[in-house]
């Protein structure tokens, strides 16, 4: 991989081509122990071999439960944390080989939106200086006049009045703050925006405004999104394609419609059946797949299929010994399960799981090792019929 000169931007790849191409990305955080001398006691396998591609102009949604490594993946891709392995190509450039100034220049083209709109805005800066900061960093500020015009245009695009410029972050509501966060990313005219839980801190009634705004801006500016969220309904609504993560790995990837119509991975099925739908008729009729137990610790992921400790479809063979690769089952639909065909065909049926209860990370006293217990029931209550 050669480090290309990154500014000005090389000829952009045409629509439909992969803008982001991640192969086997790994981010392992060392767990340090020791009083005087730090000693590495193990690793948190926060992201452990994720490969995915985001095409230019599309919205890719990454969904999964808390602690599965979504945020770390997004940050690792943008090198806001250093990946420990794998490759991350952005528009033909290997991001992992970029150094200091090259990387900083490249950041203009890949922006980020944060979950907490208040804490991601510097409380001491006015909106004016928050928005001009990026311009200044990339020598795009120009004159006061042109910059001012640009600021006002961007604010208009995200639906805020120009009078907002003089104000400070704490003077806005949550939704407005998130609009400011979006404006800050937008003003640099990036190709890619990584949005980490862009609406989960917002009021229900305001979420929809921001989701719609993201949609509109994509059309207007030809943006590519990587949207990270834990809410499957939100992700499905805004994304063209969805990747489902479990414990540091991608377990299923499909177009939004496919994923809903035909979830193949047992985890996706369980996740889908757990998402509440605001409709009593649907709620009463649905059959829930209740998963037993909790997410295992990413510091000590189960061997074999990472889902096998909770999987209702788990089989005697392969599941606990061999880690399933992501493979394409139907065109554009990838799944990481040894038994996906049989699950799909209904050849194997879900069964009650005897839970291997795994403690959350760092819960064990002293050595942080994970204790496993076999218990009979945990949350496998019969669903309401």
């Amino acid at each position: 991989m050669t480090a290309l000169p990154v500014s000005p931007a090389p000829a952009p790849s045409p629509a439909g081509e992969p803008l982001v191409d991640v192969r086997d990305l790994k981010v392992h955080f060392p767990i340090r122990r020791g009083v005087l001398i730090d000693r590495i006691a193990g690793y948190v396998y926060a992201v452990d071999g994720v490969s995915l591609q985001v095409r230019r102009g599309e919205t890719y949604g990454l969904v999964g439960e808390s602690g599965c490594g979504k945020t770390t993946f997004g940050r690792g891709l943008l090198r806001l944390v250093e990946p420990t392995g794998g490759s991350a190509m952005f528009d033909g450039t290997e991001l992992r080989s970029l150094k200091g100034e090259q990387l900083r220049r490249m950041r203009r083209r890949m922006q980020m939106i944060f979950q907490d709109p208040l804490s991601s805005l510097d409380p001491r800066q006015s909106i004016d200086s928050i928005l001009s900061e990026g311009l200044k960093a990339h020598d795009l500020y120009g004159s006061q006049e042109t910059a001012g015009k640009k600021l006002r245009e961007t604010l208009t695009a995200v639906g805020l009045p120009a009078s907002a410029l003089r104000k400070y972050p704490h003077e806005f509501s949550g939704g407005q703050r998130q609009r400011i966060g979006i404006a800050r990313a937008l003003i640099l005219q990036p190709d890619l925006i990584v949005a980490d839980e862009p609406v989960s801190a917002l009021d229900v009634s305001v979420q929809a405004q921001v989701i719609n705004l993201l949609d509109d801006l994509q059309v207007e500016f030809g943006l590519t999104y990587l949207v990270i969220a834990h809410d499957l309904a939100v992700v499905r609504h805004i994304s063209d394609r969805v990747g489902v993560m479990y414990l540091g790995g991608l377990v299923e990837e499909a177009s939004s419609d496919d994923l809903y119509a035909d979830p193949l991975h047992p985890y996706t099925r369980a996740l889908m059946s757990a998402v509440p739908v605001p409709d009593p008729e649907v709620e009463d009729a649905r059959q829930q797949i209740l998963l037993a137990g909790d997410l295992p610790s990413p510091a000590n992921p189960p061997a074999g299929c990472r889902f096998h400790t909770r999987c209702p479809w788990k089989q005697e063979t392969r599941c606990d010994t061999e880690r399933p690769e992501l493979r394409e089952l139907t065109p554009g639909h990838r799944v990481a399960c040894h038994w996906a065909e049989d699950v799909k065909a209904g050849k194997i049926r879900p069964h009650e799981v005897s839970v291997e209860l795994v403690r959350p990370s760092g819960a064990g006293p002293g050595d942080g090792r994970v204790t496993e217990t076999v218990a009979e029931v945990a949350g496998t209550l019969p669903p309401k019929s």
């Binding site: 405004q209 499957l232 499905r236 996740l271 509440p276 605001p278 649907v282 009463d284 949350g379």
Partner: protein, 332 residues
């Protein structure tokens, strides 16, 4: 007769240098034994304050509570602190949003359960321990005997919430108040906890007040739903009616703005404009008026009253027409 009857509950916060702030502004609802009712609304609409007022847990200074909270024949607001303490836990149990901070971090789970058993049911020693073990088992905590000796941080979020439910159930309360019990949890864990609560209500006949901002949770769990906006109930109905035919513009808007897993994609969401910051005080009209697409002149001149049309309670001068309400596609 209703188990709990909340009449015109009003909580006003006073803080030096600011106007008195009515966080709960005349909330009225009741709960029958074995019934599950929902209190839904956005952040800051007064859900938690309502539950804290019922439990008598609001700070004495800085908050003025008026109205009536009848638990069977007693007005909880008139009880002394001691009497209330006795009621709490015995008659009414409560589950909070954040299980970690509501459990004592330095006391083993087992002790926290047996403590309650001893205080309210007079169980001691072995009997208390056996009962505690049974309780933990009943909420789906595996290997309860070992868990009794563990500390809250040694349990996962879902397990902690189960432990908290076990403590709330220790005295077989007739009413359980759950304030966002699943908001801090993952959906798959949420599904477990909701299933547990549902089973509880059906199995023991405990009444449940479910407080949440998640309409989906309410749809599957509650018999009756109260929608709160800016401290007032704006719509109350049976869940089938409320979700099938929302009449209040706010309820209607909320339902239109949450993406549904099972809805066709590609349509923009029908968002409600503005935010709660735009609210006007209830004293000068309908608080929702600045954001309401149905607002008429009357809305900023008079305060709408909660009216009963036999099917539902509604606080609105110009509700969404039933036929529009029935179809979700129409943008609010």
């Amino acid at each position: 007769m209703a188990l709990l009857d909340v009449r015109d509950l009003r909580v006003v916060f006073h803080r030096r240098g600011t106007e008195p702030f009515p966080a709960v502004d005349g909330v009225t609802f009741s709960v029958e034994p074995g019934q599950t009712i929902g209190l839904v609304g956005e952040s800051g609409c007064g859900k938690s304050v309502t539950s804290l007022a019922i439990m008598g847990l609001l700070p004495k200074r800085g908050a003025t509570v008026t109205g009536q909270v009848m638990f069977e024949d007693t007005d909880l607001l008139k009880l002394s602190d001691r009497q209330l303490r006795d009621r709490r836990g015995r008659d009414i149990g409560m589950i909070f949003q954040d299980p970690l901070s509501s459990l004592n971090p330095v006391i083993p789970i087992g002790l926290q359960v047996t403590e309650v058993l001893q205080r309210h049911r007079g169980l001691r020693g072995k009997a208390a321990k056996t009962e505690a073990e049974g309780l933990l088992k009943s909420v789906g905590i595996p290997d309860p005997n070992r868990r009794l000796g563990e500390y809250p941080h040694q349990l996962s979020g879902g397990m902690r919430q189960r432990a908290l439910i076990a403590i709330a159930l220790a005295c077989r309360p007739r009413l359980l108040i759950a304030d966002e019990p699943t908001t801090a949890l993952d959906v798959t864990i949420q599904a477990q906890i909701l299933a547990l609560l549902r089973q509880l209500v059906e199995g023991t006949g405990t009444a449940l007040i479910m407080i949440t901002h998640d309409l989906g949770v309410v749809a599957g769990l509650c018999d009756q739903v109260n929608v709160l906006y800016a401290g007032k109930v704006v719509e109350t109905a049976d869940r089938h009616r409320l979700f099938g035919e929302p009449r209040h513009p706010y309820t209607h808007g909320l339902l239109g703005s949450v993406p549904r897993l099972d809805s066709p994609r590609g349509e923009p969401l029908a968002a409600i404009s503005g935010s709660v910051n735009d609210n006007i005080p209830w004293t000068s009209g309908c608080a929702f008026a600045p954001r309401c697409s149905n607002a008429i002149d009357q809305c900023v001149e008079q305060t709408p009253a909660l009216e009963d049309d036999g099917l539902r309670l509604l606080r609105c001068f110009n509700p969404v027409a039933p036929e529009t309400a029935a179809s979700q596609e129409v943008p609010a």
